[in-house]
């Protein structure tokens, strides 16, 4: 009896020790999960998140263990996937599409000890942060490149949907182009889809048919760059360096860089010091970058763009720096002022230089 009891005790202790040990090990290694909205592919929105994840893994090594799931549909399924990831021990979960916002918040309510980061949304809670990039800074710079490279003074822009994020990009691009070439006009085609290579290609060709000799896009495929390459025009990529798809056409690209942010969050969670909040980072924070210039961009152009890039980084220049006029000629930002974040987030008008009116809602 007695020995039996002792054995039980010993066993119990050993078990408790083992549990504590494994728990300790599990704590040492942070389990991180990513929810992607599309396949990783070779370029585009999700590919950039994938690069960010790789950079984070490289920086933190075996301190973290990363799981990725994708593509996950934005809708009722997203909540289940996120919840499964939270339930299976992931302590830091990145949900990388706007449509995951509400599902992320719902799961976060139930899993209070898990840290969530939602990319591109605006709703936050105690354990849900949001993050997005000031891509308009990159757009302004690519606009400068386009403005200097165009011969026809017609630039083409393919948009997905007329929401402030996309309009802000069009406007920044136009301001950048007109800062170096006041004769430039920007023509816009909306394809009503974030991702439809066939339509994006047709839209690109329609723009080229009308004399656009530099085209760019706020959609997710590489179709615009490929179209420019095939038609011997120029293109500016978006999300990723798309030079692979347009060897001579690709001038540069406005790209998202997530690695440093992801690493920062993971480090903070590992150290137990992460506080939820919002991050809207740009060139200065290393979250936006220009892809390397293509072979056809002259050194003089590169130098001008790099100078402006340094000014934006230093905070001495702002893409929406007054005077900014909208299409009707009304001054939206007076000289000497810069636009605040609020009006930028709600932007619903074109600036001078964009052809046509915004589609009616």
């Amino acid at each position: 009896m007695k020995t039996g009891r002792i054995t039980k005790w010993a066993l119990g202790l050993a078990l408790a020790g083992a549990v504590a040990l494994t728990a300790g090990m599990a704590q040492a290694q942070l389990k991180i999960a990513f929810v992607y909205v599309t396949h990783v592919g070779d370029a585009g929105w999700t590919y950039q998140h994938h690069l960010g994840r790789m950079a984070m893994e490289k920086a933190l090594g075996n301190k973290i263990k990363v799981t990725t799931v994708g593509p996950v549909k934005e809708g009722a399924d997203a909540e289940r996937v996120i919840r499964k990831l939270a339930a299976s021990g992931n302590k830091l979960i990145f949900t990388t599409s706007f449509g995951f916002m509400n599902p992320t918040l719902k799961v976060a309510k139930r899993y209070k000890k898990v840290t969530f980061v939602h990319v591109s949304g605006y709703k936050r809670s105690k354990n849900v942060s949001t993050v997005f990039a000031r891509l308009y800074e990159g757009r302004y710079l690519t606009g400068m490149v386009a403005g200097m490279m165009t011969k026809s003074n017609v630039l083409g822009y393919i948009g997905a949907f007329p929401i402030p994020e996309v309009i802000r990009g069009i406007n920044a691009f136009t301001l950048g182009a007109r800062a170096v070439n006041p004769k430039v006009q920007v023509r816009v085609i909306w394809v009503s889809s974030w991702f439809n290579p066939g339509k994006e290609r047709q839209a690109s060709e329609t723009l080229i048919a009308q004399g656009a000799d530099v085209i760019t896009h706020h959609t997710d495929s590489t179709a615009a760059v490929q179209a420019a390459q095939a038609r011997k025009k120029f293109a500016i990529g978006y999300h990723s360096d798309m030079s692979k798809y347009g060897k001579t056409a690709h001038l540069t690209a406005a790209t998202h860089i997530w690695g440093s942010y992801y690493t920062k969050v993971a480090k903070a969670v590992l150290a137990g010091g992460w506080k939820a909040g919002d991050t809207w980072g740009g060139l200065k924070d290393g979250m936006v970058a220009l892809a390397p210039f293509g072979p056809s961009v002259p050194a003089k152009v590169q130098a001008m763009v790099k100078k402006r890039q340094a000014e934006i980084r230093a905070g001495t220049f702002h893409p929406f720096q007054g005077p900014v006029k909208d299409q009707s000629g009304k001054v939206v930002v007076p000289a000497g002022k810069t636009m605040a974040d609020g009006p930028m987030l709600g932007m619903k008008y074109y600036v001078e230089g964009v052809v046509g009116k915004l589609p009616k809602k």
């Binding site: 909306w190 066939g198 060709e205 329609t206 009308q210 495929s221 490929q226 046509g356 009616k360």
Partner: protein
């Protein structure tokens, strides 16, 4: 609008129409034989992915085209065996083929996402392409576009000028009568389904090999369904398939052109136009029951079982 601009836009319209022409001409032959295959979208996707894989792995667009046709024919045989030999419901089987095709193409195409190929370049026909206006308009296209036009002449000739076409049409009108005359109903329907699949596969391959050129999941974006609508829209006549395909192609291009000229629309409401237009045309051509019966194959969608 300059002359060059107009020519460019018309050429673009021609290009947008090519996938629809292939798929709709193929489906037209299938339906003329009395079979309704709703799996066009699935076969197009299989064609798109197989064509792209073929082109990437061998470096030859031509091999890609052959693989697109072969793969689409293979999956269409599932449909053919089920509906023709096992007398399964054609509507359900066709839908299953579409769902299967979407899934399978996404599945086998995953490793090829993001790959690129040098798309098919235009072939300028010597001398003819130098004619002003008409040259760039008609004689400076990629080979698949010429092939689509050739397919139109081929299908028209086959259906209305050849004995095979006569037999095919008679089977579509009344399989009992054709069977009584000793025609191999099932065998000809098998061949028709396979031809339709090969054409659907080519239509899909045009998207992945020429129009974009890349492979992406679901890249046909409902063109298979539009092709099905087009057959009815054309009242089962090849010439009207061509006109319909150009009209549908033009709708997208005109919409884009108007936008870039600064005409403002709700992009969503505008996107509903092709669908409503198809419905309206459908109503107009179906209104007079006698008229639609003039062209619609009478045995369309009805199973045939030879009772020997």
């Amino acid at each position: 609008m300059s002359e060059a601009e107009i020519i460019n836009l018309i050429v673009l319209t021609f290009k947008s129409a090519v996938p629809l022409i292939f798929a709709a001409l193929g489906e037209l032959v299938v339906e003329k034989s009395g079979v309704l295959n709703l799996g066009v979208e699935g076969m197009m996707l299989i064609g798109a992915v197989a064509g792209f894989i073929g082109a990437v792995t061998t470096g030859s667009i031509f091999v890609g085209m052959l693989m697109a046709m072969a793969a689409a024919v293979l999956v269409s045989l599932i449909f053919a065996v089920l509906t023709l030999s096992l007398l399964a419901n054609q509507v359900a089987t066709g839908l299953a083929l579409t769902i299967f095709g979407i899934g399978l193409s996404a599945f086998i195409g995953k490793p090829f996402l993001g790959n690129t190929i040098e798309g098919l370049q235009p072939w300028a026909i010597p001398l003819l392409s130098d004619i002003p206006i008409l040259g760039p308009l008609l004689f400076n296209h990629d080979p698949m576009l010429y092939l689509a036009v050739a397919a139109f002449f081929g299908v028209s000739w086959f259906l209305y000028r050849s004995r095979g076409g006569l037999i095919l049409r008679s089977i579509g009108e009344s399989h009992e009568a054709a069977h009584a005359l000793g025609y191999p109903v099932i065998r000809i329907r098998y061949l028709a389904v396979m031809f339709g699949a090969a054409m659907g596969g080519l239509g899909g391959a045009y998207l992945s090999l020429v129009l974009t050129p890349q492979w992406q999941e679901d890249m046909t974006a409902q063109r298979g369904w539009i092709a099905l609508a087009l057959v009815v829209f054309a009242t089962w006549r090849p010439s009207r398939v061509m006109i319909g395909a150009w009209l549908f192609g033009a709708l997208t291009i005109v919409n884009f052109y108007a936008q870039s000229q600064g005409v403002s629309f709700s992009s969503h409401l505008l996107a509903t136009l092709p669908y409503f237009a198809t419905i309206i045309v459908l109503v107009l051509i179906s209104w007079d029951a006698a008229k639609i019966r003039l062209h619609a194959p009478a045995a369309l969608g009805k199973p045939f079982h030879a009772s020997d």
